[in-house]
Structures are given as structure tokens and as C-alpha cells.
């Protein structure tokens, strides 16, 4: 008997059918990957399962009994625990990790009213022992990495006797090495009989974890793939059209470089390296979290001064002290995590599409200082047209757009003016495969500038770049160039 059976689940937001009769079966002791482009209905399905949304139609059975949670608490009670993508909310700064682990026990009254440090520590340690991994119990929750916060959430889920664990993009904000650790933990939990349903866009996750991949499109399940999973077919099912996987068209460049870096030490004591970027070239730099991907980009953009080394832009010495210097010199950067680095909060001035695009270009577009004329609207419309942004127009609030379209807007911002070098830090975060394809095409179409992309997903690097560099301990090493070729033959 399957653990969870979902039959004909439907849910509509106004005229939008987010779920249109989705059916799915999950058994104990298996890991199921839930794939789908943005708007395919994954999140809605998860929200219904987690009890945050009520289904309009359809039935769910959990372990033979009807399952219809009316709140997250009811879902947890029944054994369905969801770990959401933003793990900051698992605890709070100022709490120790032990406190964060026991937070739900404090809230539901199962912990005693008066707490002693030792009893809290003992209970937390016991939870971790049951879960089978270690965390620094006395550390402040705020000091934990995203991966460790994820583990706190998982440990809490397990302590509540979860039979189904739902993970929403568990590796979205963690590095390759930390992902490996998480995979191992999840596989062990699966072997102990836990059912795991996870959403991810990362092929590495699917490869390492999934026993089965379920693909959604348009609010229904359109395909299921058992092991060995044919990912190319799964992805094609997901976006509903064929997909080019590798870059058989990797180009090489022999012209004078746009940006030359020589003897760069990102931090004092790291191995010096050189880097040259050519016009029209797309270079990806990949490596684990903390290896220095962002630091490299920040050094070029002027937000962080390297410990040593020189940079030359079009042959002239280039030493930016601020982002303003970099932008003036024609070096643009779209930072990691667009909500934090690029976007305004909703309802705030500048949170619609047009001002989002115009923010760095205001001085150039409005030299007199007054925001007269429709320049930014025209530029926004141009971005909408050229990048295929799905939005109601230049006035559309940025939060009404899907993740992929938001990322297109950010790219549109930096495409709006000519540049020499474009730096993109994790440009495919929370971007579905279809939009990723469009973004890659747009990035590669520009032949005037050099593009340097930092990504922690090697597959993404393969997909986008002419040349891949690996960064480790704040220093660059070129990747074995045979790899893209091999992929191309495979495809």
C-alpha cells in the first residue's frame, strides 16, 4: 500500500488553475523528485500537502486514511513535514542551535515551562542522535550556514515522527560539498523507511537522490521517470519542447582581452592567479560555497579589494573602489540572490518593472535629474520584447512575476546600456529550465562584452559557458576542457 495517494487534486487562484487534477503516489522508503517549470503547480501541490492551502477538488489518502490537513500543524500531526526553502525562519538570531531544534516543543507546550540549559542541550543532542548527524548545539543560530539550517529543520521534522518529508529546493543556497552531505543524510533516512518528496531544478540533485522523478506541467502530472532517470527526456517533458543540453558551439577567442587580471590574490596568502576575458566570451566560474566565486566577482566590481594583483580594462589600468567606479568603466554586475541584491520590496517606489531596470542608469537617462519623459518605460518595453519577459507591461509589480521572469528583468537592467564586462552571480537561482534556456540564449547573443558567471552548479556552467574555470581556496584552475566535448557527443 502506498504511503500517500493523491487523486485529481485541483486548486485555482481566481481564473488561474494552479492545480488541474494532479494525481501522484508516494511509497515509504523512496525519494521522489518533483520537477516542473515555474507555474507548473509544484508549490501549490506542496502547499496543499503541507496544509497551507485547501484543495478545491480531489482526494488525498495517507497510510490508508483520508488526509485533508487544514493547517500546517495538522499536517505535521499526521506525519507530513515540510521544510521550506527559506531556512532563516527555522530559528532566530540570538537563539542557540539547541533552542532552534526545540523551538516547536516550546511552542506546542511539550517542553516544560522552566528550562535548564542542560536539559535543553540533552534533548537537542538526543534529537540529533536520532537524526544521525551533528550540529554545533551551543552556536548562535544566526551563525549557521544555509545547509546547517536545513539540517536543523530536518532534525525537527524527524523528531515529530514524520513519515513524509517534503523539501522545497533543499540545495538552492548551499554548496556542492554541503549538498553531498545532505544527499548522504537523505539517502540514509530513505533507507530507514522515510518517504521524501523534493522540488529541485538541479540536475545534480536529481542524479544523486531521486528514485523516481515526477514531472508536472500546467497543474497536472505529465510524466514519471523511474531509475535510471532519463533527465533530458524529463526536462523536455517539463518544458514541453526539445532542449539543447551541451554547448557544441563553444567558441574560442583570440582577440585582445577586454579585462586582464594578473597576479590576483583574492585574500592574503591565497595562490595568485591570472584571468583574461575576451569580448563576446562567456566564462563560468564554479566551485563550492566559500571557494571565492562571489569574492572574485566583487573584486572586479569594486565592492571588495583583492589582497594583491592588478587589473587592466581594455589595456588601461583599472582599480575600482566602489560599484559606481565599476559601472562608469562599463563593468556591470547582477548580484547573488536577486531579492537581496537587486529588487525593491513590494509596494515600495521602484518595485515595478520599469524602475527596476532603470535604477543604475538614472543619471544617464535623466541627466537633468527630473524624471520626465518615458525613457524608462521604453527601455522596459524593449527588455520585455527582447527577453520574452512574461509581464503585463512596464508597470507590472516585480513580485507578480515568476522567478525566471524576475531574473530576466535583472538581465534586462544590465543589458539596457552597453558594457565591457557583465558579471552574473548565480543568475539561475530559482529559475526554471525554460527561462534558464532563454537567459542563456540572451547572454550568449551579446558579442560586444565579456560575461563572467559564478555558479555553484557545474551543469549550469556547462550549459552556458564557452570556458569553465574552477575556483578553490580563492584561486582559479582551468577545468578539464574535454568535458564539454564529451557532453556534446553524448547529446
Amino acid at each position: 500500500m502506498p504511503l500517500l495517494r493523491i487523486d485529481g487534486l485541483a486548486h485555482a487562484f481566481g481564473p488561474t488553475k494552479a492545480l488541474a487534477g494532479a494525481s501522484l503516489v508516494i511509497r515509504s522508503g523512496e525519494i521522489v523528485a518533483l520537477m516542473g517549470a515555474n507555474g507548473a503547480g509544484k508549490s501549490t501541490l506542496v502547499n496543499v500537502l503541507a496544509g497551507t492551502l485547501a484543495a478545491d477538488q480531489g482526494t488525498m489518502t495517507l497510510a490508508g486514511r483520508p488526509y485533508d490537513p487544514r493547517s500546517p500543524a495538522e499536517a505535521t500531526e499526521a506525519g507530513v513535514v515540510t521544510v521550506h526553502q527559506s531556512t532563516e525562519r527555522v530559528g532566530a538570531p540570538g537563539l542557540t542551535v539547541a533552542d532552534a531544534l526545540l523551538l516547536h516543543a516550546y511552542a506546542d507546550g511539550s517542553a516544560p515551562f522552566f528550562l535548564s540549559r542542560s536539559s535543553v542541550r540533552r534533548k537537542a543532542a538526543e534529537m540529533l542522535r536520532n537524526a544521525g548527524f551533528e550540529l554545533p548545539l551551543d552556536r548562535d543560530f544566526a551563525d549557521l550556514t544555509a545547509a546547517d539550517r536545513q539540517l536543523v529543520a530536518i532534525a525537527r521534522a524527524l523528531s515529530r515522527r514524520a513519515s513524509l518529508l517534503i523539501l522545497d529546493e533543499p540545495t538552492a543556497s548551499i554548496s556542492g560539498r554541503e549538498s553531498e552531505r545532505l544527499y548522504a543524510i537523505l539517502r540514509r533516512l530513505r533507507d530507514e523507511g522515510l518517504a521524501i518528496l523534493f522540488i529541485s531544478h538541479r540536475i545534480a540533485d536529481l542524479n544523486a537522490l531521486a528514485d523516481r522523478a515526477v514531472v508536472m506541467r500546467g497543474g497536472t502530472v505529465v510524466g514519471e521517470f523511474g531509475r535510471p532517470i532519463d533527465f533530458d527526456r524529463a526536462v523536455e517533458t517539463m518544458i514541453g519542447r526539445p532542449l539543447r543540453t551541451a554547448r557544441p558551439d563553444a567558441r574560442s577567442f583570440h582577440r585582445a582581452p577586454v579585462l586582464e587580471m594578473a597576479g590576483i590574490q583574492l585574500v592574503a596568502g591565497s595562490t595568485p592567479f591570472d584571468l583574461a576575458l575576451h569580448a563576446g566570451e562567456v566564462v563560468a566560474v564554479t566551485g563550492v560555497l566559500g571557494a571565492g566565486k562571489s569574492r572574485l566577482l566583487q573584486a572586479i566590481f569594486g565592492t571588495r579589494t583583492p589582497a594583491a594583483g592588478t587589473m587592466r580594462l581594455d589595456g588601461r589600468a583599472y582599480r575600482p573602489a566602489t560599484p559606481a567606479d565599476a559601472i562608469k568603466a562599463g563593468i556591470f554586475m547582477a548580484g547573488e540572490d536577486r531579492h537581496r541584491s537587486s529588487l525593491m520590496p513590494s509596494d515600495w517606489p521602484g518595485s515595478t518593472l520599469a524602475p527596476t531596470i532603470s535604477l543604475p542608469h538614472l543619471a544617464r537617462w535623466y541627466p537633468l535629474g527630473f524624471l520626465l519623459g518615458a525613457r524608462e518605460k521604453h527601455e522596459a518595453q524593449r527588455a520585455i520584447d527582447t527577453l520574452g519577459i512574461k509581464a503585463s507591461g512596464p508597470e507590472a509589480p516585480i513580485t507578480s512575476l515568476s522567478g525566471g521572469n524576475q531574473q530576466k528583468v535583472i538581465l534586462g537592467r544590465w543589458n539596457a546600456e552597453p558594457s565591457r564586462v557583465l558579471l552574473l552571480d548565480e543568475p539561475f537561482q530559482g529559475v526554471d529550465v525554460g527561462a534558464r534556456h532563454d537567459i542563456i540564449t540572451a547572454i550568449r547573443a551579446n558579442t560586444e562584452r565579456a560575461t563572467l558567471i559564478a555558479t555553484s552548479d557545474p551543469e549550469e556552467a556547462l550549459e552556458v559557458a564557452d570556458r569553465i574555470l574552477i575556483i578553490d581556496h580563492h584561486s582559479l584552475t582551468p577545468a578539464p576542457q574535454a568535458e564539454p566535448a564529451a557532453r556534446a557527443i553524448e547529446a
Binding site: F301, A326, P345, W348, G350, P360, Y366
Partner: protein, 340 residues
Amino acid sequence: MTTLNTESKDPIGERVSAAIRASAVFILLIVMVAGFALAQPAYINVTNLMSILQAVSVVAILGAGVTVTLAVGGFDLSIGAVAASSVMAASYAMIVWGLGVYETVPLVLLFGALVGLVNAFLIVRLRVPDLLATLAMMFLLTGLQLIPTAGRSISAGLILPDGSTATGAYDPAFLLIGRSSFFGIVPAPVVIMVLVAIILFVLTERTRLGRLLFATGGNELATRLAGASVPRLKTLAYVLSGTLASLGGIIVAARVGRGDVSSGASLLMDSVASALIGFAVLGLRRPNVFGTIVGAVFVGLLLNGLTMLNAPYYTQDFVKGAVLVGALALTYGLGRSQAR
């Protein structure tokens, strides 16, 4: 990952609710004025309306300054104290130093700007949280204004701490700032308020600089990465706020004609309240200069009407508080419940 679709189930209901939110304050305003006018016809005559506007002008000017600091994601609690010490500074300059209007006004404005600069230094350079920095500055100024005169109010013939008598007097031209009116109808403070309102409205809503000020408050990192100088923008906001507060102080000084140690006691609360009421005006849910001015006028119209109907003076703060609570509930409560 798809974010949860936040579109309401009923787009028409959502639009109606937005329209109600946008116009609620104006509808209330009209109902209120009509009610008071019916009860007391003298309420609606031009002289009374002008006296209301004159009464709120200082609060509105200070409120505009608060709005600018709110826009950069800060908060200036020192404005009341800046205004009060500006009253003292103006009086001291004229009565003790014997300066005229043309020296006094720039001097006092400079004083306000300087306080703003110190605030900005504390907040931007030393990274003191804005509320704490400006609260400390408020304390400091409240005490500082008492020192030169050993705690006495300043009027002509003031006996200084060293025993001598001050020889200066208020420049009659200075008094015109507070007491004259244009065409015998529009008081000068009202004209100044309108000018400040127009300039600041255009600055915050229609210029590149305003866009960047709001961007700083919305997402500081994004603003910096877009190439703007966040420290400079924040400094500008606090300097503007300090300068506007001292302008308010000048108007108060010109109206009362003496340096009263207790002047400006309620200015801070009133101006912050009008800035917050401004969030509800047009349903914007954010600081905006137009809303702040409307908020200040709204409170003025209400208080004046109640006074005309013989409501006792001690109910005034309660009424202001009730308006603020209502406005905030309108801003954050309504619409929110519709959207989720």
C-alpha cells in the same frame, strides 16, 4: 520555484478595496468638514481655514522632513528638539548678538543642517541605529538650548548668566515671517509650507534623487550595487530633515516673538503622526510628502472643529492618537486581509 500566486480570488473586490483605501482619508476629510460646517458655519470661512493652515504649517514642514528620513529607511527623532533649539538660537542671535533677519535666518538654517550632518555622521559613519542616534541628539539639544541663558526664556532685556543685560531685540522684519500675510488673507507660514510641500514633493516623487532616496530605504544593498552612494543619500536626508526642522523653528520664533524654553514640546509627536497618517493617504502604505501634508491638515481641521464645538483642550492628544491608530489600521489592516 513558483511563489504562491498572490492574486486575489476576486480581482474586482481587490480593486474596490484598493480604491477605498486610496480615497478613504479624503472621504473622511470631506465628511468631517461638512459636519463641522453644518454645526458651526464660522468653521468654513476663509479666515478660520487660513488660521487652521497656519496652525499646522510648522508640523507639516517638520513632517516633510521626517518623511524624507523615512524614505531612506531611517527615522529622525531629533526634529522637535532641532525646532525648539532653533527658536532659542534665533532669539539668542537677535537679542544677545543683536543680529538682523538676514544674518539670523541663514545662521539658524545652518544650525539645523549641522545637526542633520552630525546625525548622519552618527548613523552612516559610526553605524549607530537611527532611532538611537536621533534620540540621543534630541536629548543633547533639549539640554543644550538651556545652557547659554542658564535655563531662562529669551526676550528683550534678558539678564545673561554673567549679570549683564542683553541689548538686542527681535528684528521687526524677522517677525514678518510669522505674522504677515499675503493679500491680507494667506499667512506667510502657509505660503512657506506650500512651497516646502511642492519642492519636497517634486524632489521625492519626480526626480532621480528622490528615486534613489526611496531606493536606499527599500534595499540599501541593491542601491549601492546600482552605483549610488548610499552614505551620501542618507546624509542628504538627515541634513534636509534638520534644515526643515530649523525652518519650522524660525516660523515658531517669528510667531511668538520670544525664545520660550518650552516651545516645540509636541512638535515631534505631531509631525511623526502626520507622516504616519500620510501612509494611509492614497493608500500608498509608504512615506510620501503629499500624504504627510494632508495628514497634518487633517489633524488641524479636526482639532479646530472640535475646539469650535467646545471640546476641552485636554482631549486633543487623545483625538490625534485616535486618528493615528485609525490611519495605521486603515493602511495595514484593510487590503492586507483582502490580499491573503
